[in-house]
């Protein structure tokens, strides 16, 4: 399909039009940072955002989500609750797109998760080409997630006055046809876009001191590495690193009832392997007792376990966990430290 051009002036009207039929979610300012939130005013959209506090996974797996409702009493009944709205998700960066592809695998393999997948199916993704690193903490180039090659319906590249729009799916093409005021790209615009894309790599530093493909085998050797003890000293076990990670999807499920104890809801909440009680079982046994062991588990999931399961690394190099950690723990430095000491 051919490349389209969307003038920047046409963005607000496009969003306005979309808002009539969809929940439109996009990056907006939140204090000094940014967050993906439903757009109430097109002027609030900030496609120039650096990164968001939480990744867009919350659109597909909300922080708190109803899985079922039930009645109590003599003959209790359960109803599945699937909370989904037609949504357009605007402005996803490539790293987050890679992460989403991984979540898709996690939620569809073996036992497909209807809650996640329904939202996924009802959401159109309009991603955005990263031409510059979002900030100093990201290392997408090293993790091979700098390019958005699949998973989007539409993909935008900033040409200055306008966006070049790549069409990824038929649904994307339909959306554009129905709501967008676009035209075909000229040859000049097409080559400008190609040029931007091919030359951008020089702006991105390769911050991992080795090939990311080495990670699974490197971490295999690093199970008893002293680095975990160092993290033991510094980590708070606050779970921020996993909550902000676009590929973390662990959860807890709890029942909530009304005061009359006649009905209730089963709610899924985000959970974190960093929290002390995550792996504790009845009787008090905790299979990941120390903060260091829990940090090791996080590193292993990012660099090894998810790869073994899904064929893609669990870290996309977005840098969020590094930015957010109150103790300035950096997974990137961690990988580099381990590698330097072992190989």
């Amino acid at each position: 399909m051919s490349l389209k051009i969307l003038d920047k002036e046409a963005v607000a009207p496009l969003i306005e039009a979309l808002m009539a039929d969809y929940r439109v979610v996009g990056p907006q300012a939140k204090g000094s940072k940014f967050a993906f939130d439903p757009i109430t005013d097109p002027a609030h959209l900030r496609l120039d955002y650096d990164t968001t506090i939480l990744p867009p996974k919350k659109v597909f797996q909300p922080q708190h989500e109803r899985l079922a409702t039930f009645t109590l009493g003599e003959d209790p009944q359960v109803e599945t609750a699937i909370e989904v709205e037609p949504t357009v998700l605007l402005g996803m960066h490539a790293c987050d797109l890679h992460a989403l592809n991984l979540l898709d695998k996690a939620f569809s393999e073996d036992y497909p998760d209807a809650h996640y997948l329904s939202r996924r199916e009802m959401t159109l993704i309009v991603s955005l080409e990263c031409l510059e690193p979002c900030d100093d903490e990201s290392f997408c180039r090293s993790m091979g997630t700098l390019e958005a090659d699949e998973g989007f319906d539409l993909h935008l590249t900033d040409l200055g006055e306008a966006y070049a729009v790549e069409i990824g799916t038929e649904a994307g093409a339909d959306l554009l046809a129905k709501y967008g005021d676009v035209r075909d790209a000229t040859d000049a615009e097409a080559s400008q876009k190609a040029e931007l894309q091919s030359s951008k790599i020089k702006h991105f530093a390769d911050r991992l001191n080795f090939d990311a493909a080495e990670l699974p085998s490197l971490l295999e050797e690093a199970y008893d590495h002293p680095h975990w003890e160092e993290l033991e000293e510094r980590c708070f076990a606050c779970g921020s690193c996993t909550n902000v990670c676009p590929t973390c999807y662990c959860f807890n499920v709890v029942d909530e009832v009304n005061l009359a104890l006649t009905e209730g809801e089963r709610i899924r909440h985000w959970d974190s392997c960093q929290l002390a009680e995550f792996a504790r079982v009845a009787g008090g046994e905790n299979f990941r007792e120390s903060r260091g062991a829990r940090q090791r588990h996080r590193f292993m999931r990012k660099g090894k376990y998810l790869y073994e399961r899904f064929g893609a690394l669990g870290c996309v190099g977005c840098g969020r966990c590094i930015r957010t950690c109150p103790s300035s723990i950096s997974i990137l430095k961690g990988f580099n430290t381990i590698r330097a000491s072992l190989r």
Binding site: L67, A68, F70, L72, D75, P76, Q77, V78, T80, I82, A106, F107, E109, D110, Y111, P112, D113, A114, H115, L117, S118, E121, Y223, Y249, C250, F251, N252, V253, V254, D255, V257, L261, G264, R266, R268, D271, C273, F278, A279, R280, V281, A282, G283, E285, F287, R288, A293, H297, M300, K304, Y305, E308, R309
Partner: protein, 282 residues
């Protein structure tokens, strides 16, 4: 895309039997006489609506199912506490069966050694009874069972039956006798005093031809594994059933992860050779 893997089937609680001070045996009937269709070693996610869900091993064996199944549950917290307060006829939610059960096929034609400790008998009972119902398929059947006290021995009638049977070698032990508890002679099972490992010297095994299976609290299976290995049983002939926190049962929630493995999907029954290197497993 509207059936949720998290939606429990509402089942009916049948007979409830108090087994010890803290354990009860629950018979559960699925609607419309459906059968659970499980393998020994698998588990269900049991819901008490309003309280929550917990993974529980199916303790009855498929060979003895009349459409219903049994769970043996210790009261330790919210869900198990609420279950213990329920009456026959009450409704509870069931999802499953989930997980990988015991390797019946690789056990056929071999000697089998079962060494459960305490509540670890619950999942193993499903397998033991299945084996006994197909007794001809197996060579020797050895059961070594230990509990902390005599009053904590589970399934006493069946233990008695196994002790009595000529084609089963069943030895029992308790860590120590209950204080001030008098037992009627007919209830009084023949028991060794001491931890479960004290039973191992009592038996001879044909190590290479034996499949050994254990389940119990971590401190117990640690030592049991050492005994099994001491007897020369090959690592790949040893299986254990593990317990982890679980919130979904279907490999998503992450709680039960043991290094790279998910206890709910890759287990709960594991081959020792596959997990012996995993610090988080043992």
């Amino acid at each position: 895309m509207s059936t949720s893997i998290y939606k429990p089937e509402m089942a009916r609680l049948g007979n409830v039997q108090q087994m010890t001070a803290t354990e009860k045996l629950f018979r559960i009937e699925l609607p419309k006489g459906q059968s659970l269709g499980h393998d020994p070693g698998q588990f269900v996610m049991l819901s008490v609506l309003g309280v929550g869900e917990a993974p529980i091993s199916i303790t009855s064996s498929p060979s003895r199912s009349n459409g219903d199944f049994e769970l043996c549950v210790r009261k330790v917290g919210d869900v198990t506490g609420a279950l213990h307060a329920m009456q026959p006829g009450d409704r509870l939610g069931i999802r499953g069966p989930f997980g990988v059960g015991f390797p019946m096929d690789s056990m056929r034609g071999k000697d089998v050694l079962f060494a459960p400790g305490g509540l670890g008998l619950a999942p193993l009972r499903s397998l033991i009874n299945q084996v006994l119902d197909e007794r001809d398929e197996f060579e020797r059947v050895i059961i070594l069972y230990g509990a902390r006290r005599r009053s904590e021995l589970l399934f006493r009638d069946e233990l008695n039956e196994w002790v009595e049977r000529d084609d089963v070698e069943c030895l029992l032990t308790v860590d120590c006798e209950d204080e001030g508890e008098e037992w009627q002679p007919e209830e009084r099972l023949e028991c060794n005093i001491g931890v479960i490992t004290t039973l191992f010297p009592e038996i001879e095994v044909d190590a290479k031809n034996t499949i050994a299976i254990t389940c119990g609290p971590p401190i117990m299976y640690h030592f049991v594994l050492m005994e099994m290995l001491d007897k020369g049983i090959p690592e790949s002939n040893i299986y254990l059933s593990l317990e982890r926190r679980m919130k979904c049962g279907v490999g998503k929630c992450g709680h039960c992860q043991i290094n790279s493995l998910y206890c709910c999907q890759d287990g709960p029954v594991f081959n020792y050779a596959d997990i012996k290197g995993f610090e988080e497993a043992l």
